[in-house]
Every structure is written in structure tokens, then in C-alpha cells.
């Protein structure tokens, strides 16, 4: 099968999964203790019986289950994610307003994590048993065991409170009214701590995997052949070992992209970063379930898109992968 067919198949699969997640959402709301109408109203100050009745009608809660599901799926398909009675806006508009901030944060963290993780992993693998390797291995173990919200708080404690180098909260300086380059610089400064914090946990993961994978590939026969041919060691590492050692790293990176987005809930909460993670936290505080489920649906869709992209990269990097499989 050609690559086009492969993409189509993966897209079809992605749509099925999104549909599945919409159904999970639907079931969750109905399994929740209490009437779905009151749940959707955010257990709001909507104790008003007339209002709840109106909601029941609006969501078709008086109709049979399968009709309710059909209505819900149709709503999701048209990006109608419901209404946040707490914030008095549609869930979709709330999410799409905040989405760019989250994409900036997670995107930066993703790039940093991959770049730094692979670099450190290669460094450690090249110096097995020496102090560089030990330091990198111990640090990777430590960060792998540290909850990211705590890493973030410690970052604030050190770089914002003690050293006063970086801002601790938000994504722009309040009231500064900056434009153009100064604005970008301001956002960049606010981005450093949260993005690094989010990245560090994954740097640890990628460094460990890269190191293990490099060592494994280095022991294979084709590397011995390359050595026997007298190729320079640097070239063997780059062109022969690294290229082949990257496959497990790419797989993992694709799987973990979703977790990265999940982690942004914690990071955005710690740093008051105005993205969808922070939005989810506010929704939690206010028991605003429509909004929470909207964020859940959207993050799931983002994960699926990330996975799709990973599959494509994978098939490009490794021509052995049968795209028809």
C-alpha cells in the first residue's frame, strides 16, 4: 500500500478513536452522581427548578438513551462542546481562546525535551562508566522521580524568589502594554521557567532511552563492520548508531506527547499560565463539568494528532516499516 493509503487508514482510525472518547464523555456525565442536567449546569447556583427543566429539554434528557447519544455526537462533530454556565460562554470559545498559549508552552517543552534528552543520552552513551555518564544517569533518575509541579515550585523558589532572574507567574508582564519585539521578548522570558520545568521530566526519560538504545545498537554487527572498515568514530556514532538508535526514542516521544499535554495542567496551574490546563484547573475548582469534559475531549484529540504525526515521521525515518501494516 502506498503512503497516501496509509495516511487515510490512520485518519479513519483516529476518527473512530475520537468518536469513542466522545462516547466515554457521554457515559461519564451520566454515571456521575446526581442528575446530568444539574451536573452540566456545574452544580451551579442553578438550583432553580425551571432552569434545570430547561436544560433537560435542551439536552434531550427526557428522550431515550440512544437519541441522547446521537444528539451529543452530532454536537461534538460540529465543535459544539456545550456551555459553561459558570463563565457564561461556550466551552469551545473558552478553549480556543486559550489553546495558542498551551500550544506555545507544550511545543517549546517538547522540542527542548527531545533535543536536550537525545543530546544528553548520546553524551552519556559515549562516556560509559565515566563521570559525565554517572552525573547524567543520576540526574535523569532524580528528575524521573520528581513530580513536575514540585520541580516548578522549586524553580520559582530559586530563580524568581531567591535570584529574581525570571518572572514566576503569567505569560506577560501585567500592564506593560508591550508591542512587537518587546512583547515577544516578554512572553519568552515568562516562558522559560514553565517550559523548562515541563521539559525536564521528559529530558530524563529521553536521555535514559537514548543512552540504552545507543549502547544496544553499538553492540550490533554492522557497527563492528563499520569499525573494521576504519571509519572515523564520530561518523560511526552519527551516521550508523544514532540514526538506528532513534527509533525507540521517536516511538516514545509520540506516546508521551499526550502526557506532556496532561502535564501542562499542573504546570499551568503552578505558573498561572493562561492555557487550557489552567482552564481545566479553574473548571475543577468551580465544579464546571462541561468545561472539564471539553478540555478532556480536546486534549485527547491533540494526542491523536500527535500520534498520527509520529507514525508519519516513523515511516519516513525507517523505510523498513511497512506502511501497509
Amino acid at each position: 500500500m502506498n503512503r497516501f493509503g496509509f495516511i487515510l487508514r490512520r485518519l479513519g482510525k483516529a476518527i473512530v478513536v475520537i468518536l469513542g472518547i466522545a462516547i466515554v464523555n457521554f457515559v461519564l456525565i451520566r454515571l456521575a452522581p446526581g442528575d446530568p442536567a444539574t451536573v452540566m449546569a456545574g452544580e451551579a447556583g442553578a438550583a432553580d427548578e425551571k432552569f434545570v427543566q430547561q436544560l433537560r429539554q435542551e439536552f434531550g434528557l427526557d428522550r431515550p438513551m440512544y437519541e441522547q447519544l446521537a444528539i451529543y455526537v452530532k454536537q461534538v462533530a460540529t465543535f459544539d462542546l456545550g456551555y459553561s454556565y459558570r463563565q457564561r460562554r461556550t466551552v469551545a470559545s473558552l478553549i480556543f481562546d486559550r489553546l495558542p498559549n498551551t500550544l506555545l508552552l507544550t511545543g517549546t517543552a517538547y522540542v527542548v525535551a527531545l533535543g536536550l534528552g537525545i543530546l544528553l543520552g548520546v553524551l552519556a552513551a559515549g562516556r560509559v562508566g565515566r563521570w559525565t555518564d554517572s552525573v547524567i544517569t543520576v540526574l535523569a533518575l532524580a528528575f524521573y522521580a520528581t513530580p513536575i509541579f514540585w520541580t516548578g515550585l522549586m524553580g520559582i523558589l530559586l530563580f524568581s524568589i531567591t535570584l529574581n532572574w525570571l518572572p514566576a507567574f503569567g505569560n506577560i508582564s501585567v500592564g506593560a502594554n508591550l508591542k512587537g519585539f518587546a512583547y515577544a521578548l516578554d512572553v519568552g522570558k515568562h516562558l522559560i521557567l514553565p517550559a523548562l520545568t515541563l521539559a525536564l521530566f521528559y529530558v530524563a526519560t529521553y536521555a535514559r532511552i537514548t543512552r540504552a538504545s545507543m549502547l544496544e545498537v553499538a553492540s550490533l554487527d554492522f557497527v563492528k563492520t563499520a569499525r573494521a572498515k576504519g571509519l572515523p568514530p564520530g561518523r560511526i556514532t552519527r551516521a550508523h548508531i544514532l540514526r538506528n538508535a532513534m527509533l525507540p526514542v521517536i516511538t516514545l516521544a509520540g506516546i508521551q506527547a499526550g502526557q506532556l499535554i496532561g502535564g501542562s495542567i499542573l504546570i499551568e496551574t503552578v505558573f498561572a499560565w493562561p492555557g487550557i490546563g489552567r482552564l481545566a484547573f479553574d473548571a475543577l475548582l468551580q465544579r464546571d463539568y462541561s468545561l472539564l469534559l471539553g478540555v478532556f475531549l480536546l486534549t485527547s484529540v491533540m494526542v491523536i494528532l500527535f500520534n498520527l504525526a509520529t507514525d508519519l515521521v516513523y515511516s519516513l525515518v525507517d523505510p523498513r516499516i511497512d506502511v501497509g501494516a
Binding site: 524521573y144 524568589i161 465544579r287
Partner: protein, 279 residues
Amino acid sequence: MKDFWKRYSRNRGAVVGLAVLALVIVASLAAPLLFPASPWDMVGTPFQHPFQGDQLLGTDTLGRDVLAGIVYGARVSLMVGVVSTLAAVLLGIALGAVAGYHGGVVDDAVMRFTEFFQTIPSFVFAVVLVAIFRPSIQSIVVAIAIVSWPPVARLVRGEFLSLRSREFVQAAVVTGQSTGTIILREILPNALSPIIVLASLMVATAILLESSISFLGLGDPNLMSWGYMIGASRTVIRTAWWMSVFPGLAIMVTVLAINLIGEGLNDALNPRLARRGRA
């Protein structure tokens, strides 16, 4: 057993991890003896610095003993870590065994189901589950178990696929043993080693998940936990660093210890694979 310990103790980190975990377990068991008062009780003046007053690690914003909170919090962390992992492992074994043993359509169906759960972002899903079913220790355990079982199912399925065609399994089939007996008595014991290693690492992940859920304010309102302590004091971090620093260290040390134990178990149980990827 002697062999097992010999291989395990060759990994020094794993021995240290075991010692640290033993300490955490003892402290959590002895909590009522060490701190007879409830960790929620006010025992001193609020905002007391550590290493100065009667409370070794200071007090929090409401005058509660930080060290007492950490010791009691260990109970919640360990309990949630172990129970949710057990639940996830049982679920994963059940599904993975059925898929791997039967193969074919059953395998396909179970694996699609598993993949679906792996696609859902686990942390967000766990948070949504706890929020909707009201925060409590039970809902947290169930939520963590629900998002953690897929890797177990995949692992068990793989083991079963390769084991079911072995001669000893076919011998059991020929002698007319029931499917249940074959799965439980013949195949499962041979697949246990990698499951144990994976489970040990899952306990560590579960503890991190629990602390993150509690940090967001979704912990059991009746139980002191490390994540809650950090979440409750993060707004005063400018003036009272110790309230967030010590519980965080507790999480890090415990999770690190369990990860090290996991590596040691891997060395001891899978000697063939143990040194792969290492010098």
C-alpha cells in the same frame, strides 16, 4: 531465593532503594506512635520555621506539624500506590491472558480496546474521573487503576502468545485440563517475572499520579497527603518554603527508591536481559 538475592544485591542502587523504602514503610506504620495527635491538629504557632521550635520540620499556615503530615502522608501514598497497581495488574492480566491465549478475533477486539485506553491522555482522564465521582481515596485508586492497566495487558498478551505454543502447554491441553487451569497454573507462573518488574515501576508512577491529583485539590478530604500539603502551601511559598520543600522531597525519595528497586528486580528476575543496554 538465595540466587535471587545474590543477583538483586549486585545492583547497589537497588539495595539502597530497598533500605529507603523499608524506612518509609516503618515510619508510615508507626505514625500513630510517633505522632499520637491527628496530622490535622494545630500543635504550634503557624509559620514556625524548621529546625528551631518543637516541630522539627516546622508548622504550616494553620500550625500543623509538617513532619507529622509527611509521616501520615506516606500511608496514603503507599496505600494508593500498591492498591491501584494491584487492581491495574489484575485487570491487565485478565484481559491480556484472554487475548493472548485465544488469539484471533478475541485478541483483535481486546487489543483495540487496550489501544483506545492508551490513547486517552492518562493524567487528564484520571483527574476527570476523580472530579466526577467525587474526590475520595476509593475514587483515586479506581481512577489510577483505570488509566494504568493497558501496558500490563500488552505485556501479558505478548508473553501468552509466545508461551501458548510451547510443549508443556500443549501437553496440558492434551491431558484435558480446562482453559482456566491452563491459563492460571501453566502459563501465568511462567510469565510472572516481567509482570513483577513492570508492577514495581507502576507503583512509583501511581504515587506520582496520586500526588498530582491531590496537588490539584482532588485528594481525599479526610486524609493527609503529600500532594495536598504542597498544593495547600504553594501560595505562601515566598515566605514559607519549608511547607512545600519537605513533602516534595518525600515524594522524590520514595519514588526514586521504588524505581531503583524495580531495576534491581529486573536484574534479579530477568538475568538474560539485565545487562542489556548497560555497560
